[in-house]
């Protein structure tokens, strides 16, 4: 089970969780992160500061694999601000395998000279503070960050997030029509980032760069909101 979903079921709400953690933690970076709070769950999405987040990792399992790079782009439903975003290359504890070097287009020397994740966690948390996180596929970013914080400080780091892939699945993978299509043996539509973007007329970007993907995710979320939601939709209908 994913930590975020567990949290959602066990706790009365994200606001209470953040307030409690802000009081309980002894780590200054986490303390500031939690103190910045999360929006009230009835708040409309259009006036909430958002942060598109993307991690490149060496694999899918936070216990085995490591973060290679982190990209962030702040935005809201009106504009996306790439220049106000952030990007870090991170040195994983174990040397990178050749295939993931090729995959991420990150060079050995880049990784060699990069700081370990522990050294930049403070900056990462400070950048995220006060923003609602938006990702494409929620089972990477939150678990990996949580694992990294746990490894450094012995504490959890959890936060609500919006998953554009899950939103896409709501229309493309569910509903009666989809069931009929599946019965007829039709392939379900891909909800991968690039394919989802194509359905909204969004351009192709060269993938596998954390900040480009973060920017692409922000654009996709704007497009999804424009097509499927009212701008005054309360965040609780969107986040996990």
């Amino acid at each position: 089970m994913v930590p975020g979903e567990q949290q959602r079921q066990e706790s009365p709400g994200w606001q209470e969780y953040f307030a409690r953690q802000a009081g309980a933690t002894t780590t200054p970076a986490l303390q500031a992160f939690y103190a910045a709070g999360v929006p009230d769950e009835e708040r409309p999405i259009h006036d909430i500061p958002l942060m598109a987040l993307d991690l490149e990792t060496t694999g899918m399992d936070p216990r085995e694999h490591a973060i290679v790079s982190i990209g962030m782009v702040p935005f809201d439903l009106r504009v996306i601000r790439p220049s106000a975003g952030h990007y870090w290359v991170v040195k994983p504890p174990r040397p990178l395998r050749e295939e993931s070097i090729a995959f991420h287009r990150i060079t050995h020397s880049e990784v060699e000279h990069a700081p370990p994740i522990a050294a930049i966690l403070g900056e990462v948390l400070a950048a995220l503070a006060g923003h609602l996180v938006v990702v494409h596929y929620r089972n990477i970013e939150r678990p990996f960050l949580d694992a990294a914080v746990m490894a450094s400080h012995g504490e959890h780091c959890l936060f609500p997030l919006i998953d554009t892939m899950a939103l896409e699945a709501r229309w493309e993978r569910q509903g009666r029509l989809q069931g009929i299509k599946r019965l007829l043996g039709m392939q379900p539509l891909s909800i991968r980032l690039a394919d989802s973007r194509g359905r909204y007329g969004l351009p192709n970007y060269s993938a596998h760069h954390a900040k480009v993907d973060a920017m692409a995710t922000a654009e996709l979320f704007q497009a999804q909101m424009a097509r499927h939601f009212r701008t005054d939709t309360p965040v609780s209908e969107l986040w996990f």
């Binding site: 504009v79 996306i80 975003g85 970007y205 654009e219």
Partner: protein, 633 residues
């Protein structure tokens, strides 16, 4: 630079005006970009809303509207909007709507201002209408030496001159001493007010009366066995063609081409300051249309003339490639067309014998306007002396007309589909009859009838008694301007062919939002432009036939609001050049040149300029309707 900025920069760098930016400026712009998404059908900006940024379309498409809700423009990937509002009051004047799902890159106004300040081309591009097209046209004029350079630059020495009462031997000695091949002839003046009168450094009055060349001495003295004591005045042939020293080299070349002469006395006001030889110009700029015209007069049969067609085309392509202006090319091609006609007439007269009565071959359309391009119908007519007697002379001129017309067709100037040719009995008439034609057209202007006769209102002489055509030009110039009904009818006809809104992606966007796959640049741009200019020119009593010369007359008469004639002039130049470049390209690709352009072959910059030229034409048509209103019934 970070990867996402590179994504943004790489896209913007492909489209104007960003394609021309220095790297660091482009980086600057890309780094400052903010992004926004708009679903199809949503409003992007509303009237009077503040404008904070320049919008660049990364993907999708938008439409821009005028106040009254009329479609103003449709823009796609790589286009920008909001620049006019940014430059003005920073409020939206023209509302914008997404017609497809659209992703915009927003360039903040502070960065926009910086780009305008740092890069003149960028500033030109985004500046309010006119500037981009204007600067494009002006740039090509600046780049063209033939137009920029004045003919006085080609003069290397003062003219050698002699009194016409002197003997040919004295002239030959003077020419030998000075090592020149021509000498100007003078006679003492008596203070008469002639174009040819001038006073020399000592204050003596002179009249310039002619020029004698080596060839004259050879042909008219030695070959005839005449005496060396013959006075020069006897062999001088008057009718001296000259040019002003501040005219362009191009004008000098055209003057020589038009008159098939090789030497041109250059005057400063009325004083001779030198003689320019054709070889001076050829040395200055290799231009083969000069040789071409010479070549035409050396051919001895229609067949031999027809074989020149590939050379005519090659010369046209070369002029386009060398960056000549439409005016230069149109002038050169018209000289070629006129020379061909003259040569054909010479052939015909040689076989049919000398004409029984004086006559003039008259041309209409592009040849009359001196703006001929590479493919063009023949439009000609014949004006006969009023002593014309059908019984005695009819057959001669019918046959002459047939030969000229057939010859032109053989040389690549196909028969006129509308039958405007001297072979048509209607258009081979005595001068008095022609005067009646024009008087009737002007006095009883039926728009339907005018539609067919408006072609005759561009007219010029090509061969024979030029004064016949001049009389017709005079009649038109004096009557037309005093006939509001005629001008109104002509104006109404000038609105019949309208330009499209612009080109969008791979199609032509019409004002009502429909699409077409090709655009006939002549029918939708150049011809209606000429129609508009003709009405104004006749309205101010101009005798000029060429579009640019007419615009000069219109401007001098103050018939259009300030700046309008300039706009029309560079729009005409641009449209003509687009057409000529298109035709040159087709010739290079071994296609038969035509006027049908495919929007996908039009570059982004050209698209932008075309849009502006169409806009200028459209506004000019609107103004015409207002300036020469049709009478209410």
């Amino acid at each position: 630079m970070e990867a996402e900025i590179r994504e943004i920069r790489d896209h913007m760098g492909q489209y104007p005006p960003f394609d021309g930016l220095r790297d660091e400026l482009l980086d600057d712009a890309a780094s400052a970009v903010e992004i926004a998404y708009f679903k199809a059908g949503t409003t992007i900006s509303e009237r009077d809303q503040p404008v904070e940024a320049l919008s660049y379309i990364r993907s999708g498409a938008v439409e821009v509207y005028l106040h009254n809700g009329q479609l103003y423009n449709r823009l796609g990937e790589g286009d920008i909007f909001g620049q006019f509002d940014l430059l003005r009051n920073r409020q939206v004047r023209f509302p914008v709507q997404a017609i497809e799902d659209t992703l915009l890159y927003l360039i903040p106004k502070s960065v926009f201002d910086r780009l305008c300040a740092a890069d003149d081309n960028f500033a030109d591009f985004v500046e309010l209408s006119g500037s981009r097209l204007k600067s494009t046209v002006e740039q090509s004029l600046r780049d063209n030496d033939m137009i920029a350079t004045r003919v006085r630059r080609l003069i290397s020495r003062l003219p050698v001159m002699i009194e016409e009462s002197a003997t040919v031997q004295a002239a030959a000695r003077l020419m030998t001493d000075n090592d020149v091949s021509s000498v100007l002839l003078l006679k003492p003046g008596n203070g008469e007010d002639s174009d040819r009168a001038f006073s020399d450094a000592e204050g003596r009055q002179w009249l310039l009366t002619g020029m004698i060349t080596d060839k004259d001495l050879r042909q008219r003295i030695i070959a005839e066995g005449a005496s060396g004591q013959t006075p020069l005045s006897i062999i001088s042939h008057g009718n001296l063609i000259t040019i002003q020293s501040d005219e362009s080299v191009n004008e000098a070349m055209l003057t020589m081409l038009r008159n098939n002469i090789q030497r041109l006395p250059v005057l400063h006001r009325r004083r001779p300051v030198g003689v320019v030889h054709l070889s001076d110009i050829v040395r200055y700029e290799t231009n083969n249309s000069v040789y071409l015209v010479n070549n035409i007069f050396n051919r001895t049969s229609v067949k031999a003339l027809a074989r020149l067609t590939p050379e005519v085309r090659a010369s046209f392509v070369r002029l386009v490639d060398e960056g000549a202006t439409s005016r230069m090319i149109g002038g050169a091609m018209s000289s070629v067309g006129r020379s061909l006609m003259r040569r054909l007439v010479e052939f015909a007269e040689a076989e049919l014998g000398p004409p029984p009565i004086p006559y003039c071959i008259m041309v209409h359309g592009s040849l009359a306007r001196n703006d001929q391009s590479i493919i063009t119908d023949q439009d000609n007519a014949m004006v006969l002396h009023d002593s014309f007697d059908a019984e005695r002379h009819g057959e001669y001129f019918r046959e002459l007309a047939r030969r000229v017309s057939d010859g032109l067709d053989a040389c690549g100037y196909p028969y006129c589909k509308g039958g405007v040719m001297a072979t048509n009995d209607l258009w081979r008439q005595p001068l008095a009859r022609w005067k009646r034609y024009f008087s009737d057209w002007i006095a009883k202007p039926d728009p339907q009838r005018l539609l067919h006769s408006s072609i005759f209102f561009d007219l010029d002489a090509v061969h024979g008694e030029e004064r016949f055509v001049e009389e017709l030009q005079d009649l038109i110039a004096s009557r037309a301007k005093a006939s509001p009904l005629f001008l109104a009818a002509l104006a109404r006809n000038a609105l019949g062919r309208t330009p499209p809104l612009g080109l969008f992606r791979t199609f032509v966007l019409e004002k009502d939002g429909r699409h077409n796959n090709t655009i006939n640049i002549k029918r939708r741009g150049i011809a209606p432009m000429n129609d508009v200019i003709r009405v104004h020119a006749l309205g101010v009593g101009s005798r000029a036939q060429n579009g640019f010369e007419r615009l000069d007359d219109i401007s001098r008469a103050g018939a259009l609001p300030a700046g309008q004639t300039d706009k029309l002039s560079y729009a005409l130049e641009y449209l003509s050049m687009v057409r000529m470049r298109h035709q040159a390209q087709e010739i290079k690709n071994d296609h038969e040149p035509d006027n049908a352009m495919q929007p996908e072959h039009v570059s982004d910059v050209e698209r932008h300029n075309l849009k502006e030229a169409f806009q200028i034409l459209s506004n000019a048509q609107k103004f015409l309707r207002f300036r020469y209103p049709s009478p209410s019934r």
